[in-house]
């Protein structure tokens, strides 16, 4: 055993590991964050694939980051800079399109161009969704009560949750339940008639999830993606300076400023335990490092089935983790471009591309893309969420050149009678062909292409089955049940061993809430142990 001894070791330097380590260090613990790769960030990294071109390899935008983290970890001192997107663009078929700016009234006219009915419906939808978000949001900052516990404190917390729900008006509570359990398409049908608009909004109901817009459960995904408020406004998205890798570098600097130590290229192979208590970790090179607290920022499968011997855990927990759904369906295809794409009717002005560009022109389009995935294949006509980040952050590409991040669905982890090593480039060809369809001449702009399949995500980042949320956003895998019934409070059956990854409540996206809440639990347990 190494002579080093830490109060806490965090396994994994992804954004939640960094947030957790920063809070633990801020709380006075001598903290070590161990990262397997040569850089921190996990799935939120930015890499220079050829000189001057910076690619957000995986995660590419910011919204859900809890504002408390910005303040409590003093991130603005370390370079936190969420750059605003000024437009959103959704090309449709035959040169049709929706182009939104930051002028709300202008956007209502743009909606009315497609459907006069949808213009005020757009405001009604926004208002109703805001009400639901307002009601749900406190849960993002709350450790779920343990509904299986007889502890009076937990009973009180559960009752508080109940009374919070009862304080909502009927329509908001009903909308919340409809979103949490229903489909995005059904919800949107209540408001809109424009297929292009519905396709656009429904797109955020399928991100990262093996559901179609008409599947029950897509409402929850849509709601989740609307819960952001990192920049002072509800539901907006930004590109962080230097991509999401720029953001995790900010987190790393903050963690270090609070005294946390970060060690790169230090893969942990197992958590050391004695008599049901965590005592430290063992690294791949045989080094053992002792600590009172070990926190896994990995996904639940790796936290419970790889880092510790499942025989040390209760059978029901092991079974629950084994049947946890991952089913990654998302890929990234990133491009270096020699110029901006040309839209058939709008041209190639930079104002088209200063924000998300949504290729998902109707609910039917998205649902058909999902149909392929249901039967184990990647979409013939994929949904693509594009972002030309260099139009907002000029440091991402050389002058006049651009980087294009494409988030692609559906590309199921499990392929029928083939594998991703064989299909990687064919899939990317479909993505490129789709971009060619909406932006003729696109292929001529391509200088380089990077393809990241669910298998690559799993191999590189360690997210099981390439699921970007470290466990799917399905109702039975959320809140009380994330990652498993009875284990939603960041503890594990092994004393001193905790979990803080996106597989815990509230879940994935670059939100940081799991890392923050877990740190609160750990520091609380230590202070209770001392005073008890």
């Amino acid at each position: 055993m190494s002579t080093d001894r830490y109060d806490a070791i965090v396994i994994g330097g992804g954004h939640n590991g960094l947030v957790n380590g920063a809070y633990l260090a801020k709380g006075g613990l001598r903290t070590l964050i161990l990262e397997r790769r040569h850089l921190v960030g996990g799935a939120a990294i930015t890499e220079e694939l050829q000189p001057g071109f910076w690619f957000t390899t995986f995660s590419y935008a910011l919204s859900l980051l809890r504002p408390q983290i910005i303040h409590e970890l003093e991130l603005t001192k370390h370079g936190f800079l969420p750059l605003q997107m000024s437009t959103r663009f959704a090309p449709g078929d035959d040169g049709d399109h929706l182009l939104f700016t930051r002028d709300h009234d202008e956007n209502l006219r743009e909606v009315a161009r497609h459907s006069p009915h949808d213009a005020d419906a757009y405001d009604q939808y926004g208002h109703d969704l805001d009400r639901v978000c307002q009601a749900i949001k406190p849960l993002l900052d709350t450790i779920p009560p343990d509904i299986f516990s007889d502890d009076p404190e937990e009973v009180v917390r559960l009752a508080a949750l109940g009374s919070q729900l009862r304080s909502l008006d009927k329509r908001t509570l009903h909308n919340a339940v409809r979103l949490l359990t229903g489909s995005a398409a059904d919800f949107l049908d209540d408001y809109f008639e424009s297929e292009l608009l519905k396709g656009w909004f429904a797109s955020s109901g399928i991100i990262g999830s093996k559901v179609g817009p008409r599947s029950q459960g897509s409402g929850l995904v849509l709601l989740f993606h609307s819960l952001g408020e990192h920049d002072g406004s509800f539901g907006t998205w930004a590109f962080h300076k230097g991509g999401n890798g720029g953001f995790t570098q900010v987190l790393a600097r903050a963690a270090q400023a609070f005294g946390a130590e970060i060690r790169l290229e230090s893969p942990v192979v197992r958590v050391l335990t004695r008599d049901g208590e965590a005592t430290g970790v063992a690294l791949e090179d045989g080094t053992e490092i002792a600590a009172d607290v070990v926190v896994s920022a990995l996904d639940p499968r790796r936290t419970f089935l790889e880092m510790v011997d499942p025989r040390e855990l209760p059978d029901d927990l092991v079974e629950d983790i084994r049947r946890l759904k991952f089913q990654g369906v998302s890929s990234k295809v990133n491009f270096a471009l020699s110029g901006l794409p040309t839209h058939p009717t709008l041209g190639s002005g930079p104002e088209l591309y200063r924000g998300f560009l949504n290729i998902g022109p109707s609910v039917d389009y998205l649902e058909r893309a999902f149909d392929d995935a249901k039967y184990g294949w990647y979409s013939e006509h994929p949904y693509i969420d594009c972002a030309i980040q260099s139009t907002i952050d000029p440091d991402m590409a050389p002058p006049g050149k651009h980087v294009l991040s494409c988030f692609v669905q559906y590309t199921p982890y499990q392929l029928r009678e083939s594998d991703w090593d064989a299909e990687r480039e064919h899939m990317a060809d479909r993505v490129q062909a789709t971009l060619e369809r909406f932006f003729p001449g696109f292929g001529g702009l391509v200088l380089q292409r990077e393809v990241v399949t669910p298998l690559d995500i799993e191999r590189t980042v360690g997210l099981s089955e390439g699921n970007i949320f470290a466990g799917e956003f399905l109702a039975p895998q959320m809140f009380f049940f994330r990652p498993a019934p009875g284990w939603s409070q960041y503890r594990t059956p092994i004393a001193g061993y905790y979990q803080c990854g996106s597989g815990t409540h509230p879940g994935g996206c670059v939100m940081g809430a799991p890392g923050r809440l877990a740190a609160g639990q750990i520091l609380g347990d230590r202070s209770r142990a001392r005073s008890g």
């Binding site: 603005t76 800079l81 700016t101």
Partner: protein, 399 residues
């Protein structure tokens, strides 16, 4: 008849919103695109261009120009060597601020003074027997601010010497074959430069700058973005944060330089025996510690702010667009101890920030005060703390 600036042909072509406002009798763009925050980020993260031509400009020259200005300006102009610029202020004989501005010292005996409002008579009437000429050149010179972390890289393609230009340095150069002065000055608190050009050459220079910026994502920014930038930078705005003593009806609308937080301008005052207008009052105010206020930054407590709005069932509004109004400031006993004059939600600081004057005993950074907001049509006092100005001060500004 409202005037247009020498850059108007270009600014009007880029103004997508059709929103204009008046500044010193000139049309200037409020915001070029739907989002002034996007323009703001061009300056904080890339490079932005502002047409700042409407400023008043006076060429003050002659054998006694330095002597004259050292008696007129409160900050010692003699410390500004030729080839440099200086941010300065001028006072009345009671030590109240008339205005602030930047003075460029082109030569030992030649200065260019900028001001927000007309000041010709104030200066010209006090030349007396000195050998000094003053000439209004406001309309003869166009000014273009090129600001942001990329401004140096872009301008260096036109004027290589800017890479060596120190903070508040000036240099003469040519852009597109036309003579210009480039100063490392601005109103953004960021790395940045201002280009001073004869009006007739303005469009040529504009085109040259845009050509050099090709591919760098340069954006024009309007007054909306400018107001955001200057609050973070702790730079006062006449008519918002202070008024000219000349036209005030009572002392409540007057400020001394010490009250505006400009004590740093007078660090060498003891050694400097120079007489200047307002000196006696300034010295007395310093000695007697009789300042009524001290301009500080306020940073609003985010938890308290959110609590006040959330408990009213509202989504806490966090608007980046500055409001230039009086906002009352209280201490813990709910005694009024000052007032804020500019407030906004800062994108780089992710907090509500304000420029405010508080009682001098509360000016220490960290002092806890309460800022009054209106929530549901009634007043709510929200915790805030005093912070040193500028609230945002990146190293690159002076590096």
């Amino acid at each position: 008849m409202i005037r247009t600036t020498p850059f108007h042909d270009r600014t009007s072509a880029l103004n997508e919103t059709g929103l204009w406002q008046h500044w010193s009798g000139h049309l200037v763009v409020t915001r070029y695109m739907a989002s002034d925050k996007f323009e703001y980020f061009a300056v904080r993260n890339g490079v932005g261009v502002l047409d700042t031509s409407p400023l008043y400009k006076y060429r003050i020259a002659g054998r006694d120009a330095e002597r004259f200005l050292s008696g007129m300006l409160a900050r010692d102009i003699r410390t500004c060597a030729p080839g440099n610029a200086q941010y300065t202020t001028w006072l009345d004989d009671r030590g109240f601020v008339l205005e602030d501005g930047v003075v460029l010292r082109h030569a030992a005996d030649e200065f260019l003074l900028t001001s927000a409002e007309p000041n010709f008579a104030w200066f010209a009437d006090r030349i007396g027997r000195l050998s000094v000429t003053i000439e209004e050149v406001s309309l003869d010179i166009g000014t273009l601010a090129v600001q942001g972390p990329r401004s140096r890289e872009v301008l260096a393609r036109l004027v290589p010497s800017v890479t060596e230009l120190p903070f508040f340095g000036i240099t003469n150069a040519t852009i597109g074959g036309r003579p210009v002065t480039v100063s490392r000055t601005g109103y953004t608190g960021d790395l940045g430069y201002e280009i001073w050009v004869e009006a007739a050459d303005a469009l040529t220079v504009w085109d040259g700058v845009w050509e050099a910026a090709e591919g760098h994502g340069m954006l024009p920014y309007g007054m909306g973005a400018l107001y955001m930038l200057r609050i973070e930078a702790g730079l006062m705005l006449l008519g918002a944060d202070f008024d000219s003593s000349r036209f005030a009806f009572n002392d409540a609308h007057r400020s001394t330089p010490l009250e505006l937080g400009w004590a740093w301008m007078f660090k060498g005052l003891e050694e400097d025996e120079r007489p200047f207008i307002g000196r006696t009052a300034l010295v007395r105010e310093r000695a007697e510690k009789s300042s009524r206020w001290r301009m500080v930054g306020l940073v609003v407590d985010w938890q308290d702010y959110d609590r006040v709005y959330s408990s009213a069932g509202l989504i806490p509004p966090k608007d980046h667009r500055p409001v230039h109004e009086d906002w009352m400031v209280y201490d813990a006993d709910r005694t009024r101890v000052g007032y804020a004059t500019s407030i906004m939600y800062s994108p780089v600081l992710q907090r509500h920030i304000a420029l405010a004057r508080v009682r001098p005993d509360l000016a220490k950074p960290g002092s806890r005060v309460f800022l009054e907001f209106t929530v549901d049509h009634h007043y709510e006092q929200v915790a805030a703390h005093v912070a040193r100005l500028p609230l945002y001060n990146p190293e690159r500004k002076t590096a």
